[in-house]
Amino acid sequence: MDKMTLEVLRTGGRKARYELKYRKGMTVLDALVEVREKQDPSLAYRHSCRMGICGSCGMNIQGTPRLACQTQVSSLGKETIKVEPLHGMHVIRDLVVDIDPFLAMHTVVRPYLVRRDLNERDRSDREYRVLSEEVARFLQFDYCIMCGLCYSACPTVALDPDYLGPQAIAQAYRYMADPRDEGWKERVDLLDSAHGVWRCHVAGSCSFVCPKDVDPAKAIQMARVEVLKRRVLRKMARAGSPLVSVAPSGVPKQGTKAPPFDFPREEAK
């Protein structure tokens, strides 16, 4: 392949075609950069790191959401590459979409460690150790770069803009599975809602397009099992079952099995 054509869907529905010379190892982002530098400086798209870490260059390439910097032109097997903005999002201009609704879902699940003791949270003088097998339960979901590809690929997001989305639920589960976290109950309440885990129908597109193998589909099903477990235990507790000794408001989370390790800070001088 010596030549290639980039067909970009631009603002207003106009399809712009750009003829380029193909270079070995060329990515779709390389092609877009070349178009903007040599042919059309008005073409708008996002990019930053060019190495699949920042997650800025997510776009729909040949009908599938992908990172432009990680997509080799040769891997697409065609001379004409069709590029569109990410589906299911508001388009700001050309290939630039508004990711605010997506980030809002991420924020709402409290993607950080929650501790009940405010004094400890604000004036912590120790580190919290976690066993490596406990880390394995959530590390995969920690690798999310928030590129929004899973959100764009999800058929439920296409139907329900209030759905939390695969990325946010995966992040909620990431912290639910962390033995240091104490925000389990709030997150389960959020997931066990009309726009929570029950809206997922395991199309698996989120995991299919994820460039970092965060596997949101798996995280959603694991979160759903947690939600179900809470529902069953609540019912059992309400029925006075001797098998469970939990308060109906929630299931107490198991603490980490790692040995406590006090690491006193140096006294401030």
Partner: protein
């Protein structure tokens, strides 16, 4: 410009039902929805049909005559309903295993390049293709059964 008031790009029902460019499980998602709609349509028609019994013999015979006047289309419709029920039921069992018990999804792993998600891994693929094979075989059998009813085979 207030973007929230503008339509989202390629969102909505049609967009959610386009499986091209995605994984085989997405095809399963689309077929599950389409077969679900067919089954709901059939259920409504079936309820209407049986309701005619309460309207007397004339109404019932009239409904039956109208159905039979469709000719081979009636059998094609029944064949579609049979296929829909088979796929919706079999795929539904897979989804229950996925959703209620987290089965076929794998356990969290250390992501190593080149990435391949375990939730769409070997177990899931075996389940999807087994369902497809069994449903197609039974659907073919249902077609032959209906054709036998027509006296064609």
């Amino acid at each position: 410009m207030n973007l929230a008031k503008t339509p989202r790009f390629k969102a909505g029902l049609l967009s959610s039902l386009v499986p091209f460019g995605f994984n085989v499980e997405r095809w399963g998602y689309v077929i599950h929805r389409v077969t679900g709609v067919i089954l709901i349509g059939y259920l409504a028609a079936h309820l209407f049909e049986t309701f005619q019994l309460s309207m007397g013999q004339t109404a019932w015979l009239g409904t039956m005559a109208a159905l039979h006047s469709l000719g081979p289309l009636e059998m094609v419709g029944l064949w579609l309903v049979a296929g829909s029920a088979l796929y919706h039921g079999a795929n539904g069992i897979r989804l229950i295993l996925n959703e209620m018990f987290g089965m076929l999804m794998g356990k969290p792993i250390m992501p190593v390049y080149p990435y391949s998600p375990t939730s769409l891994g070997r177990n899931q693929k075996i389940a999807v293709w087994m369902i497809t094979a069994v449903v197609l075989a039974l659907w073919l059998w249902a077609g032959l059964y209906l054709l036998a009813g027509l006296g064609v085979v």
